[in-house]
Amino acid sequence: MKKNSILTRHNTTGWLFASPGFGLMLLFIVIPFILAIAFSLTNQRLMSPNAAEFVGLENYTNMLDVGILVVDPEIDASGNILVDKNGDNKYPRLRKFTRNNPDYPNVQGMKEWFSFSWGVQKIAIMASDLVFMKALVNTLTFVAFVAPIQGALALILALLINQPLRGIQIFRSIYFMPVVVSIVVVSLLWRFIYDGQNGLLNSVLNTLTFGHFKAVDWLGNQDTALGSIMAMSIWQAVGFHMIIWLSGLQTISPTLYEAAKIEGASPWQTFRYVTWPGLRNTAVLVVIVITMQAFSLFAQIDVMTSGGPLDSTQTIVYQAVERGYGKQDISGGSAMSVVLFLLVLSISLLQRYLTREKN
């Protein structure tokens, strides 16, 4: 490699070919991202007459700090534990501890994330940036549901349209149609579908159950909002992954199916022992692509819920934009972006590790 490598080494040519693309990516993705990292270490504002100052990891600690608060129940003069009308122990309000209470500096300004009982005491997990924590959990939930469900549905659709039926191309193209429609447009349309009073979904369900279905305010209800957005996101993107699966299906040799038929395999056995093993690499690709797309959930939230109700649809990217642009806190928004990047990076490395070729 040291000497005489001009035939198989093409430093100049290689760079000449790669540099337009690579250079543009450095300039327009890598440098802005490095800038974002730099911002996250300062108190940079979107607009301000004041110069930014280096603040170290303050933005990260403000965002990620959690604390634990152990609360004793309220007792009356005789030492009995007070109970509320449901018969549960009554606890003092946490704002007593978190607001200007010098005895509890570790939870100063924090909010209750969740809590549980431990004996008579209540243990509260406190977060300094509760909205970010919720956004983090929601994002992970979204990924955890959407990646497998969308992948599986896409596979089922791919199997369906891989049948040798007359006119199957028509179905194929219909299933793909939502992919070509802008997500902003799709989100606007689905607001009508999810509407709580006279939405299409409610009226369809109402008809199907002969009036027994009680209308649900899909986007206005904490329990259904994120799920509704998941369903719509899957609806919009599943066609794309269907095609990727289809491409994988078409690489499986028909002779394998013939062999399975001769061996008398049931459809499930055929899938289990012929189709699925043949889709290994496709599966890796599908899962990775869906995961990455799911992590950048933004437009749907922006158009449909703005993160509500009660933060049940906050996501990291939405928060990063809201914080950085809406509230003009670039440094905070950038810190979120960096955390998201590290999160996705570690998850994709983990995925790659788990799906590595074992031999």
Binding site: G14, G21, F22, L24, L35, A36, Y175, T251, G278, N281
Partner: protein, 292 residues
């Protein structure tokens, strides 16, 4: 009572088609709703959303919403801007990304693996998170145009085009495809006297039809549907693309019929383009898939 005969081939066929059609309905109804609504006056449109009428062209049907939409916003100009920006980005993007992919697969150079890792890493940076630093940057970039030298890229086509020419996914797709091309073809062309550019342009690219189609469509969709960035960089109406134009329809009193008309106007060209090419398109995506 009717019994489902599992072995009746006709019946099985009917069941299959029924399943396929039901699923098709799920995919097509929201789009149908959009198109039908665009033909109705606001009052009727909103009243219809709670029934099957939402999907039917019944009642007071007209193209008034379209007329109004065209009066409200310079739709033709937005559409031209979108097509120009999208078209140029797609063409340049395919060129630049395929060249990079070519270099990563067929050429051997110092720093290649690091560069490729960086490109893969960019795949996991959502655009929204770098939009502001990028805005700060493009506003200070120099430019040498026909009308002389200037600083700052805002309010131009270039600011909507150049940052999006190269993207990691397209480079990755090209590289994956190139890896599967027979190496002998490259070697044969080298022996026949091709320079590397000739290998790329006369041999590799002509063989890359499927991946070019796939990458073109994916890039087209991503560009045509851009939203956040054009809002930030097009202060002059003359440069705005269609999705920014959508904002023109959300005034204090939203005219939903016009909104639906506008949504239809900006969706239909893509849909038509897709339906016209769908066979080639799906075949091309399918043929570029990962090989087992």
């Amino acid at each position: 009572m009717f019994r489902l005969d599992k072995d009746n081939p006709t019946l099985r066929l009917i069941v299959r088609y029924m399943v396929l059609t039901l699923i098709a309905l799920i995919f097509v109804t929201p789009i149908l709703f959009m198109m039908m609504s665009s033909l109705k006056p606001d009052q009727q449109l909103l009243a219809d959303t709670s029934s099957i009428r939402a999907f039917l062209p019944i009642g007071d049907i007209s193209f008034d919403n379209y007329k109004a939409a065209f009066e409200r916003a310079p739709i033709g100009m937005f559409m031209l801007n979108s097509l120009l920006v999208t078209g140029v980005t797609v063409v340049l993007g395919l060129l630049v990304c395929s060249m990079a992919g070519f270099s990563f697969v067929f050429l051997n150079w110092r720093g290649k693996s690091i560069a490729f890792s960086i490109i893969l890493a960019t795949l996991i940076v959502p655009f929204e998170t770098i939009a502001i630093p990028m805005l700060l940057m493009v506003s200070k970039l120099p430019w040498l145009g026909l009308d002389g030298f200037s600083w700052g890229w805002l309010n131009s086509y270039r600011v909507q085009i150049i940052p999006f020419i190269a993207d990691g996914l397209t480079i990755f797709l090209f590289a994956q495809y190139f890896k599967d091309l027979p190496k002998e073809l490259i070697e044969a062309s080298r022996i026949e006297g091709c320079s590397w550019w000739q290998v790329y342009w006369r041999v590799v690219m002509p063989l890359s039809g499927p991946i070019i189609a796939t990458a073109a469509i994916l890039k087209f969709l991503a560009m045509y549907n851009q939203y956040l960035w054009p809002i930030m960089v097009t202060q002059q109406e003359q440069y705005r693309p269609v999705l920014v134009g959508l904002q023109y329809f959300f005034q204090l009193n939203t005219a939903w019929g016009e909104v639906m008309a506008y949504l239809t106007i900006i969706t239909v060209p893509v849909l038509a383009f897709y339906l016209a090419l769908q066979r080639a398109f799906i075949a091309s995506i399918a043929s570029t898939g990962v090989k087992g």
